[in-house]
Subunit: 187 residues, 2 copies
DNA sequence: GCGCTATATGTACGTTCGTACACAAGATGA
DNA sequence: TCATCTTGTGTACGAACGTACATATAGCGC
């Protein structure tokens, strides 16, 4: 009874990444402190022992998972903005980011809240968030002056949050109106 | 051994409120899912049995605690804005709210993140957040048109968050500049 | 084939958790 | 004074937790 012959080990090189993805699913459902080794293992379809083998405790796993969230969010924002070739197209890109589903999906927003709270307690993750914000500002910096970049960045953040709570979302025309007010002095 | 004669009961009418305040301290330190009956009891200086006596489970306690957070935040925002008698004073009030310590203290921000995440999982708290946002917009509505109210509200939110992460905070002049761009069309 | 190492897994241990519940004591009315 | 109700408290129990660790198998040089 001390060994289970049905437990055949299979090589699985993507396992670590799969566990990280499963951890994000668990975080969305149960929150950071509700994310346990056992729940993640079940969600990823791996045995409990894989947790201690691949990760050096829950903090290690959470760190990797949130780093991935920050990178993905940053890439989505910067990527959409990179398609713009001039200020007009940049404004359209911002409207897309705020109104569309590029950034403001419920899952992404919830993960952002959890990330903010987690980073408030772990200084090393705050550094990652700073890098992310700086990447966003540099992408905006191709078209707008620094103060406008900060204002636009904050607006994207705030409208994403409020849009998920408000009963009626703004339409693209209204969003564009507000964005144009903010960058009025630069053109 | 089955009864402890040193456990003298003292009447304590404010106990329930003290427990709620202690729960907020625990949430700040450990997060929502890390908030346990035992930790709150220790923080409030009450026996474990008081938890089940005063509250109908952790969800009940969290609900009351976050409702208090929402009301306090709303009152701080609306209260500062109520001091304004015209649009110019309203703009100065918004600068105070963003730049000063009225709203953007680390503790308040962290509680906001936890509240957002909690509300994303509990629909009845989302309703409370809607009321809070509506109260903010009505306070702004004394001076600005509805679309501008939404934009200003989102800007306050976003700048509060980014200000706590960014290495350098904006000064009052820059904040005022941005606010004036947003409400340019109304005066 | 045959050790050897890296990879992988099941289980056990001590801790902490929410909650139930028997019980103690001040308060109250007769 | 005494029965009764409200308020308050200590403890016990089953469940879930993180982690350590003995064990097992695949890959591989020889």
């Amino acid at each position: 009874m001390s060994s289970n012959p049905s437990a055949i080990r299979r090589p699985d090189p993507d396992r670590k990444q799969r566990i990280i993805n499963a951890a994000l699913d668990v975080i969305v459902e149960y929150g950071v402190q509700g994310t346990t080794h056992r729940r993640v293992a079940k969600a990823a379809g791996v045995p409990l022992g894989s947790m201690t083998y691949h990760f050096n405790g829950m903090d290690d796993l959470l760190h990797l998972a949130f780093t991935q969230v920050a990178h993905a969010s940053s890439a989505a924002f910067v990527g959409r903005l990179a398609e713009a070739g001039n200020r007009e197209e940049a404004i359209q890109a911002l409207v897309d980011i705020i109104a569309g589903n590029i950034w403001s999906t419920p899952r992404t927003l919830l993960l952002s809240y959890e990330l903010y709270a987690f980073a408030a307690r772990k200084p090393e993750l705050a550094a990652i968030m700073r890098d992310w914000m700086q990447a966003s500002r540099e992408a905006l910096g191709r078209f707008f002056d620094p103060l406008t970049c900060r204002a636009l960045d904050a607006l994207v953040e705030g409208m994403g949050i409020h849009g998920s709570v408000a009963p009626a979302r703004l339409d693209r025309g209204q969003i564009e109106d507000i964005i144009r007010r903010l960058c009025a002095p630069c053109g």
